[in-house]
C-alpha cells in the first residue's frame, strides 16, 4: 500500500519492531521509516559481513565489520527516517526479552533466519496480543504470513513446531536470492503498514512467491482447532526456554 500525507500523520503515532536487520529486515525497516512510522525498534546483534551486501540494502562495503544496528540507523536517517524515530536493541529476540519487546510496539515484523526465533516470536506476540508479520526467503521462494493481534490463525496453525533434522531448508543450506528476499521484505512492510493503519483484511493470509516462475499466491489460512498456541485447548501459555532450540545461519 502507499501512504498519503494523512496516513503519514497517523503513522507518526505508531510503532513497529523489526526482528532481525538482515535481508528481510533491511528493506522492511527502510519502507517503514520512509512511510513515517514514529517509533521503529530494530533488534539484532550481528555485524555486517561481505556476504550480506547483495541483499541487506542498508549496508555497503564500507560497513563490513561494523555493528549492524549502527550502520542501519545511519542509513535510515540519511534516507529520511523521522528524527529520533529509531531505537536499537542490541540483542536477538530471546525468551527472556521477547514478551517485553513485542509488548512495546503496535506491530512486529519477524524476519529471523531460524525457526527457533520464528516460533518464539509467534508465541510472544500471541501472549501479548500483538499483530505480527512473519517473513522468510530461501533461494527463489518467499513467504509472508500476517497474524492478527487477536492471535488466530497463527504461525503454529500452519507449521505447529520446530522441524527436526533436514525437514525444512534454511538460508545457510540453500542460499538466498537478493531480489526475492527484497520482495519479501517490502511485502512485510506493506502488511505492517496496513496493520498500523487499521486495515484488518491482511490478517490470516500467507503469500507465497516464487521468483523463478513469477508466481505469487495469497491464501487464506484457517485456524487449526488443535493448535497449541491459539486453539481451544492451547497448551502454550508462557515462554519456556526449552521450547526454542535450533541453529541459525549467518551467511
Amino acid at each position: 500500500m502507499s501512504t498519503s500525507n494523512p496516513e503519514r500523520g497517523a503513522l507518526q503515532h505508531r510503532s513497529a519492531l523489526v526482528v532481525g536487520v538482515g535481508g528481510l529486515g533491511c528493506p522492511a525497516a527502510l519502507a517503514l521509516a520512509e512511510a513515517g512510522v514514529g517509533r521503529l525498534v530494530l533488534a539484532d546483534d550481528d555485524r555486517v559481513e561481505l556476504s550480506n551486501l547483495h541483499r541487506q540494502i542498508l549496508f555497503d562495503a564500507s560497513d563490513v565489520g561494523s555493528d549492524k544496528l549502527e550502520a542501519a540507523e545511519r542509513a535510515l536517517y540519511r534516507l529520511g527516517a523521522r528524527p529520533g524515530s529509531i531505537e536499537l536493541v542490541r540483542s536477538r529476540l530471546l525468551p527472556e526479552n521477547a514478551r517485553e519487546l513485542v509488548r512495546s510496539v503496535d506491530v512486529v515484523l519477524e524476519g529471523a533466519d531460524n525457526f527457533a526465533t520464528k516460533f518464539l516470536c509467534a508465541d510472544a506476540c500471541f501472549l501479548e496480543r500483538r499483530a505480527v508479520v512473519h517473513g522468510a526467503a530461501v533461494r527463489w521462494q518467499a513467504t509472508v504470513l500476517t497474524v492478527a493481534d487477536t492471535g488466530a490463525p497463527c504461525y503454529r496453525c500452519l507449521f505447529e513446531d520446530l522441524p527436526n533434522g533436514d525437514a525444512a531448508p534454511n538460508c545457510a543450506e540453500a542460499g538466498v536470492i537478493g531480489p526475492v528476499v527484497g520482495f519479501a521484505g517490502a511485502l512485510m512492510a506493506d502488511r505492517a503498514l496496513s496493520v498500523l493503519l487499521g486495515e484488518r483484511e491482511v490478517f490470516g493470509r500467507i503469500v507465497s512467491y516464487d521468483g523463478k516462475t513469477d508466481r505469487a499466491r495469497s491464501v487464506a489460512v484457517g485456524p487449526r482447532a488443535t493448535c497449541a498456541l491459539c486453539g481451544a485447548d492451547r497448551t502454550i501459555d508462557s515462554i519456556s526456554y526449552a521450547r526454542y532450540t535450533a541453529p541459525s545461519c549467518a551467511a
Binding site: G20, G22, G23, L24, G25, R55, G111, A112, D113, N114, F115, K118, G135, A136, A137, V138, R139, W140, Q141, A142, T143, L158, F159, E160, D161, P163, D166, A167, A168, P169, N170, C171, A172, A174, V176, V181, A184, G185, S208, D210, K212, T213, R217, S218, V219, A220, V221, G222, R224, C249
Partner: protein
C-alpha cells in the same frame, strides 16, 4: 496427469526438475505415483499422521488442509504445489 511443482530441497529426488507430471485421482494417489518415479519423495511429504507439519500442499491456490486433505480430488489440469516452511532472509 497433474503437474506437480517441486521445491528446491526436493529436486535432488526429481533429477533437478522443478516440475514433474504425476497421475492420480486424489492428492494421495499423486504422491504414490510420485514415489514410484522418484523414490524417497513420499517420506519427505508424509508421516504416519498425514502431511508433514512443515509442508504445505496446494491444489491451484488452495491449501489442501482447507479442502479434503490428502483425499482432495484432482482434475487432469490441476497444478499441485509443494511449499515447505522456510526460515531465512
Amino acid at each position: 496427469m497433474a503437474t506437480v511443482r517441486i521445491p528446491t530441497p526436493l529436486r535432488t529426488l526429481t533429477g533437478g526438475e522443478d516440475q514433474v507430471q504425476a497421475a492420480g485421482d486424489t492428492v494421495k494417489d499423486v504422491i504414490e505415483n510420485l514415489e514410484q518415479n522418484h523414490p524417497g519423495i513420499r517420506e519427505r511429504l508424509l508421516d504416519d499422521k498425514g502431511v508433514r507439519r512443515f509442508v504445505n500442499i496446494y491444489v491451484g491456490d488452495e491449501d489442501i488442509r482447507f479442502l479434503d486433505g490428502l483425499a482432495t480430488k484432482l482434475k487432469a489440469s490441476d497444478e499441485i504445489s509443494i511449499v515447505p516452511a522456510i526460515a531465512g532472509g
